[in-house]
Each structure stands twice: as C-alpha cells, then as structure tokens.
C-alpha cells in the first residue's frame, strides 16, 4: 500500500503502528482458538508444546486424544444428544419464529413494540435466571430431565435470533409482490411458498443456523434442566474441564472449531446472497 505523498514522518509512523496494533488484536482474537489445534495432537498429556513437537518430531504427535474421544461412550452419546436436541429445537424455533416475523413485519400488527420486547426477551434475560426459572417450572410439569424439556428450553432461547434475522430480510421485502400474486388469484398458501418463502429463505436459514448454534453451544440451561440421559457436548466438556482436564477436551474443541468454521461459511455465503438478491450489496 502506498501512502499519500503529503504524509509526514509522524503520520507514517502512526500509520504503521496502527496496523501493528490492529494485527496484534486480531492475533488476540484468533490465537487462543487456533493454538488448541496442534496441541490436540500432543502425544503427552500436557497443555504445552513438548520439545518433540517443537522440533516436528513425529514421536511428539499422536491421535490418542481423538481415539479417547471416539472410543468413549459418554462423548458419543453427547454428540447424538447435541444433534438430536439441536435439530429438534431448531425446527421448532424456526417455524414459530418465521411465522411471528411475518406477522410482526405487517404494518397493521398491533402492540408491535411490546410483543417484540417479549419475543426478544430470551436473548436479554441472563441465562442463569432463565435456567433457574425453567428448572423449577419444568420440574413441576414433569418435563425436567427429559429430551422434550431440553428441546423446549432451547427452542425458546433460539427464537429471538430467528425473529430478528427473518424480520431483517422482510425489511427489504416488497409487499406489492404478494399483493400482485393475490390479485392474480394465488391462495395465501401458494403465495407464501411461491413468493414470500424464496425471498426470505436466506434469512430463515441463517436464523435457523443461529438457533441451532444457540442450542448446540448452550450449557447453563442444560446444567439445570437436563438429566444424565440428555447430556450434550458442552455438558460433557463442562465436566471434563471441572473434573479432569485432559487433552481429550482439546480434541473435542478442535472438532467443534471445524464445525463453527463450516457454519460460519454457510452464514457468510447466505448473507451475501441475501444482500445481492435484495440489491442492497454496496457495490
């Protein structure tokens, strides 16, 4: 990058110093996450780079922590649980949230501010309070320590994200399209699936992904509401960290980082597609 000619020496120093600072902050953001990846292949049960690892001696590396992870019934069950709960909660929160977003974006929706406030509240209320409330209530109605209970809890936590993302796509949504379709004789159902759905789909999918990751990453409610049969990956990690923190945690963490990279990519692509489709992308 060439600097403008009128920059003084001081400007130049500042210009480069600023970049160094910024990259140091980017390093702070990424390094902790990335450093776990090589450490998860450590042949020794330590959280540091051994001499063998630093000299790239193959003896220093092993897959033993991945084997530990894959061979452990508890971890495997937690993976099944995380996906089953995550998917069920996502389906529930996405369908309810999308419907609500459609209603909320209509001009004639009464008491919009108040209702929006209530619908967003699961995102605002501290998790410990939500978890405690659900712990007592779910016990009373006999759904504590059941899959159903955990799914309901996670669906509730995920809906604000669906409502917000879908409402955002509807901001750029041209209502005259549905009106035109209705004039041409389309039933409300046809109208929804043929006109509305394709347009808001990117919003719905990224909302769904947010709902999924909310459930997939959620731990506080699981600590209070789930029983031993519903232990999820974060719950196993919690025990792992508190009880015997071994590099198995790092192997799990590495796999989870890869999953987040995949999800991040999908959301990014969707966002760009959405912006293009609505012609909002700054060229």
């Amino acid at each position: 990058m060439s600097l403008p000619a009128y920059y003084t020496a001081k400007d130049k120093v500042w210009h480069y110093a600023f970049r160094v600072i910024c990259f140091a902050i980017f390093f702070f953001l990424l390094a902790p996450i990335l450093i776990m990846i090589p450490l998860s292949f450590n042949a020794q049960p330590y959280f540091t780079f051994t001499r063998e690892m630093l000299t790239l001696n193959p003896e220093g590396y092993s897959l033993r922590w991945y084997e530990d992870f894959l061979g452990d019934e508890g971890w495997m069950r937690s993976i099944r649980n995380s996906f089953a709960i995550g998917i069920a909660a996502t389906v529930l929160s996405t369908s309810l949230g999308t419907l609500a977003a459609l209603g909320l974006s209509r001009a004639e929706m009464p008491a919009k501010g108040l209702i929006m406030g209530v619908l967003i509240s699961p995102m605002i209320v501290p998790l410990i309070i939500s978890a405690a409330g659900m712990f007592f209530f779910f016990s009373q109605i006999n759904i504590a320590q059941t899959f159903f209970g955990v799914v309901l809890a996670h669906a509730a936590l995920g809906t604000p994200f669906v409502v917000i993302t879908v409402t955002a796509t509807l901001v750029g949504f041209d209502q005259s399209l549905t009106r035109a379709a209705a004039n041409l004789g389309a039933s409300p159902t046809t109208n929804f699936f043929k006109i509305t759905m394709p347009l808001i789909l990117p919003g719905v999918i990224s909302g769904a992904l947010f709902a999924f990751i909310t459930s997939f990453d959620e731990i506080v409610v699981v600590l209070f509401v789930a029983g031993v049969e519903q232990r999820t990956i974060p719950r196993e990690m919690w025990s792992g960290i508190r009880e015997d923190i071994s590099p198995t945690i790092l192997a799990v963490a590495t796999i989870l980082v890869l999953i987040s990279i995949a999800l991040l990519t999908v959301v990014e692509l969707l966002r760009r597609r959405g912006e293009r489709m609505r012609g909002m992308s700054p060229q």
Partner: protein, 435 residues
C-alpha cells in the same frame, strides 16, 4: 384514499353512495365499515401469525421466570406448619417467653403433623425455612419434633428442656414475623440487611455482609470488561471499515470465528494458555523471563476471568461498531482536513462523534451480557473472579436457599432490564444484527 398504505385489496369500491352520501362498496355496505372490518381482519391475521410464538414464549419462558421471582416473597412454611401456634401467639406481648398456651399449641401442631403422610408433613420445610433466619433452628425443630410424642404437660418446660432455642424469645419473634404469606426477609438478606430484636431493619453483622460487595464487584468487572472490549474493538472496527470490502470480509473472519466458536471451547483455550503449566508460563520460563517456581498465576482469579471474558465478548463490541463506521462517509473527515483541521482534531471532532451510536450499542450489549455471565467465571474465576450469577447458582444447587436465589435473581434481572430499556432508547433493537 386510505387504501394506499394497506397491503390488502379485498374491498371492492362501487360507484354508488347511500342516502347519507357515504361511499358504498359494490355489495352495498358503507365503505368505512367495510374498510374497518378488513382492517380488523388484517390485524387479526397479523396477530394470529405471532400468537403461536408469543404463547410459547409466555408459557415456557416468561411464566417460569415470573414464578421463580415469586419465590423471593412467597412465605408459606410457617402458616402451613403452625396454624394453632400462630393463633395462640396473637396474645403474646413480644417481650417475655410466650405462655404455656402457645407451647401447647406448638405441641399440637407438631403432633398433628406426625399424623400426615410423610410427604405432606410440614415441619421439615418449616425447619429449613426458619434456619434461614436463625442458625440452629433446623436442628432445634427437627430434633424436637422427633421426640415430641413423648412430651407431657407442662409443655413449656418440655420444649425448653428439648433445645436451648425454645428458651429464647428470638425464635418466637421470628415465627410471629414470618407467619405471614409474604416476606421481605429474602430481599433484606440480598442487600445484607436483617431484622434486629425490635424487628427494625438494620445492616447485617460485618462478618456476614456478602451480596452488596458482590453486586459491586460484578458491576466493576463488567465495566472493566466493557472498557477493554471497547479499547480493543474500536481500532480494529475502524481499520476494517477503512478497508475495501473484499479485504474487510477476509479479516472479518478473525472476529466472526471466535463469535461462532463454542463458549466452552474458548474458555478451555484460556485455561490451556494461562494455567501454571500452560503455554504462556512455559514459554516465559523457557526463555528465562521468569523462574520455574515463579510462574504467574493468571487463572482461577479475577485476572483470568477478565481476560477470557474480554476475548469472548469482543465480537459483540466490534460488530455494532463496524456497522456504524461503515456508514460514515470518509468525505466528512476529508472536508475537515481540507479546512485545516489536523488529523487528530478531525478524528476527535468529526469522526468520533459519529461513532457514538455504535459505541453505545456495543457497550450496553457487552455490559448486559457481562453482568449475567455464569460459565466463564465458574470455570476460570476461582474465588476472586466470582460474579453474582455464580452465587445465584450456588443458592439453587447447593445451599438450597431458593428464596434468596430468587431475590438475587430478581435484582439482577431488573438491572438488566433497565439497561436494555436504555439500550432501546439509545439505539433501538433494530440495530441488533448478527454475522
């Protein structure tokens, strides 16, 4: 025409007017009524779309929280367990020990309780409840009730022999005070206050004050974390917004990847880095900067909690800042400079004020999330990094004082809601975006 702003076109306008000159629709109804009806129907449809989610959130989210908060004032234990005693206590002067009639009523209440099926017995919960007010009440009540069937009149002496607590007016004062359906004592405990022997509210004994300091610490830590995320977030948001789109998107990954990575993964990452035998200490030891027995303790204390939470919450600061900065036209700063402002002045007077909405959004967001944070302080906080959420969890799970947990929780919730309201005033929920 009122038609233009509505999406529906289900009212067909005819050409006739009725006798009073009002416009009629093609089937002869007054236009205004038809429009009203159509409008109502649209309102209902809109509400109908929202209703399932609203009902879901109210039943499975809002109601449980309200119900939990109710526990902070709900006070059934004494009324349920000691109905006769409470009646007898009405004549008590509050200064001397109560009369034989009161002790007899207590005996009757305890005997009646033994007749109940075990799960409906009320003396157990009573012992737990009164123990929150005076230590040793649990032991006194459960031990007395185990032997009560052997008591004989005069009951006053029998009780006074059974446990030292029955020889003291304190327990009677508490029974009388807590013999009401609602109590303030959990909230008093939550602000480190208690009743003295005249039922006046006083500050708790110095050795037993916990929560005010803990709230203070939670707020102070949240302020520090918010400031740290601002100090780190502002430069990179500014840098990102000054880059061309393609480059900014690439560097944005550094912000988004942590955002999308599991909280427990990020917390374990910091344990790996900061612990005594962790990456950073090992590095410092191996390059000889610190001695092997002089490792720095950076985790299981407040430092560790602040570092880890700053890292975890940084994206919540960067994203709103970035979206605000992207909309600031560079021409303003250029104009200021061409009018003779130094770069510093141009930045301070022209650019910075325009970023304030982003700072407010990010700041309130980070602060709200921090003060209710549970997981990271629980895992890396040790004692000095504990926050109010950890204390709430402890009272629910191990000390079992659910009323106190509810009182602390309500106070936390109210603080968060006030902040959120402020956030809405400042920036509006619309600016909440992800990804």
């Amino acid at each position: 025409m009122a038609m233009s702003d509505a999406s529906g076109n289900d009212v067909a306008i005819g050409n006739e007017t009725d006798s009073k000159g009002r416009l009629l629709t093609s089937d002869g109804r007054p236009l205004r009524a038809a429009l009203d009806r159509a409008n109502r129907r649209r309102k209902l449809t809109a509400f109908g779309l929202v209703a399932p989610l609203l009902a879901f959130i109210v039943i499975f989210f809002a109601f449980p929280i309200v119900q939990m908060m109710w526990r902070s004032v709900d006070n059934p234990a004494v009324i349920d367990a000691l109905p006769r005693t409470l009646v007898a206590l009405e004549d008590w002067n509050g200064e001397d020990l109560p009369s034989e009639a009161v002790y007899r009523a207590l005996y009757e209440d305890m005997m009646a309780d033994e007749e109940l099926p075990r799960l409906e017995q009320k003396i157990g919960p009573l012992a737990v409840r009164l123990n929150y007010e005076v230590s040793a009440a649990r032991g006194a009540i459960s031990r007395t009730s185990r032997n009560v069937d052997e008591f004989e009149a005069p009951f006053k002496d029998a009780f006074m022999d059974a446990h030292r607590l029955w020889r003291d007016t304190e327990i009677w004062r508490i029974i009388e005070r807590e013999g009401r359906p609602l109590t303030a004592s959990y909230y008093l405990a939550a602000v480190d206050a208690e009743y003295d022997e005249n039922n006046e509210i006083v500050r708790a004994d110095e050795n037993r004050r916990i929560y005010v300091a803990l709230f203070g610490r939670t707020f102070a830590m949240s302020v520090v974390i918010t400031f740290m995320t601002f100090a780190l977030g502002f430069p990179i948001a500014y840098y990102l917004s000054s880059l061309p789109m393609s480059k900014a998107n690439l560097l944005m990954i550094a912000v988004l990847l942590p955002f999308w990575t599991s909280l427990l993964v990020r917390t374990s990452a910091w344990i790996v880095l900061l612990q005594g035998q962790g990456v950073i200490n090992e590095m410092l030891v191996s390059i000889g900067l610190i001695g092997d027995d002089n490792r720095i303790s950076m985790i299981y204390n407040m430092t560790g909690t602040i570092i880890a939470m700053t890292h975890i919450l940084l994206p919540f600061m960067v994203l709103p800042l970035y979206s605000v900065m992207k909309t600031i036209p560079p021409s303003y700063v250029r104009a200021a400079k061409s009018l003779g402002a130094t770069p510093t002045t141009a930045f301070r007077r022209v650019y910075f004020p325009q970023t304030l909405p982003g700072i407010a959004a990010g700041g309130v967001l980070v602060f709200i999330i921090s003060i209710g944070y549970y997981i990271t302080p629980a895992l890396v906080g040790g004692q000095s990094g504990r926050m109010i959420s950890n204390e709430i969890a402890r009272h629910i799970q191990s000390s079992l004082n659910w009323g106190l947990a509810a009182a602390l929780g309500s106070m936390l919730l109210v603080s968060v809601l006030i902040l959120y309201w402020l956030f809405n005033k400042l920036v509006g929920t619309d600016s909440l975006k992800f990804g």
